[in-house]
Amino acid sequence: MATAGEVFRRSLTETVGQVCDDSSSSSELHVLAVDDSLVDRKVIERLLKISSCKVTAVESGTRALQYLGLDGERASVGFNGLKVNLIMTDYSMPGMTGYELLKKIKESSVLREIPVVVMSSENILTRIDRCLEEGAEEFLLKPVKLDDVKRLKDFIMKGDGKDGGETRILKRKRLDDYASLSSPSPSVACDASSPLMPSSSPSARSSKRAKLRNKD
């Protein structure tokens, strides 16, 4: 019996294959968008549809997990049997935050293969770091633009993991650019429960924060 991960990779290859052969392919990327703001859901839905993606928009992390079948028996198959190829979630949501949703997805053996992108209107480096370390593919600053969606789609269609390492480095570079543009909010507390990873030892993180303060 194929694991969800294998099935996902196979279907992604099929999708890419079909896109290469036939420009009017009906195998579109299916994106699950999670945002508590009605306005933002409408905008992200349109951004994705205009980029030829199927969209399911839900208002909370809880709803998202229900849709993904994490609290049920179904495995990564949503309503009508549509596999989810990408999850885009807002960070600040009441109840379950985007970060908590991200964690739950990455902790699930069934869902962890699905790329997750976090969106936020706040440019807070510790927040961005935390999400990327937890396995988010990308952190987008709101308002999300058409170019962001196009870039995301290209990345997903290429097949995840191929140039994952390089992309991560590029993302880090852009983040350093963000950091030099604005300073993080001092009221944001560091997440004490973040998993300890070699690249984020307490001393490394505090020296990064010190560098940021110096840039003020």
Binding site: S37, L38, V39, D40, K42, V43, R46, L47, I50, S92, P94, S121, K142, P143, K145, L146, S187
Partner: protein, 151 residues
């Protein structure tokens, strides 16, 4: 087609002033790019959602700030939402007032908050009027047989 030309000019002028005076920013252009023949009312729909959402939030803010013991976390959450949605449609001046508003929340400064509430209500009603005028002009233009370019 005099009427059409006239209306087109009015629409262009009105839109230009909205940008010049800082009521709208580039994000509004982004929304217009998302509108096409298959979704001809997209901008009106999103902006209508913004109006509904904002009116709800402004009411909640007024209520929250009237309380004996103000829950500043709640006030801040509402302002954060307002900041987000105004940013999503490009309502720059509304978004801008939300910044000091959140700072006053953090400081638990009731006077600062009340002042910001007044300001944000003012900016909101200004941009609402101007956007409604914009949409009316667009409707008139279409009715007169013309069309407006989406940037």
């Amino acid at each position: 087609m005099d009427v059409v030309v006239q209306l087109q000019r009015q629409l262009t002028d009105h839109t230009a002033s909205l940008f010049h005076e800082g009521f709208l920013n580039e994000q509004f252009n982004q929304l217009q790019q998302l509108q096409d023949e298959s979704n001809p009312d997209f901008v009106v729909e999103v902006v209508s959602l913004f109006f509904e959402d904002s009116e709800r939030l402004l009411n909640e803010l007024a209520k929250a700030l009237e309380q004996q013991a103000v829950d500043y976390k709640k006030v801040d959450a509402h302002v954060h939402q307002l900041k987000g949605s105004s940013s999503s449609i490009g309502a720059q001046r509304v978004q801008a007032v939300c910044i000091p508003f959140r700072n006053f929340c953090e400081e638990q400064n009731i006077e600062g908050c009340l002042k910001c509430l007044q300001q944000v209500k003012h900016e909101y009603s200004l941009v609402k009027n101007k956007l409604e005028t914009l949409f009316k002009l667009e409707q008139q233009l279409i009715a007169a047989g013309g069309s407006f370019p989406t940037l």
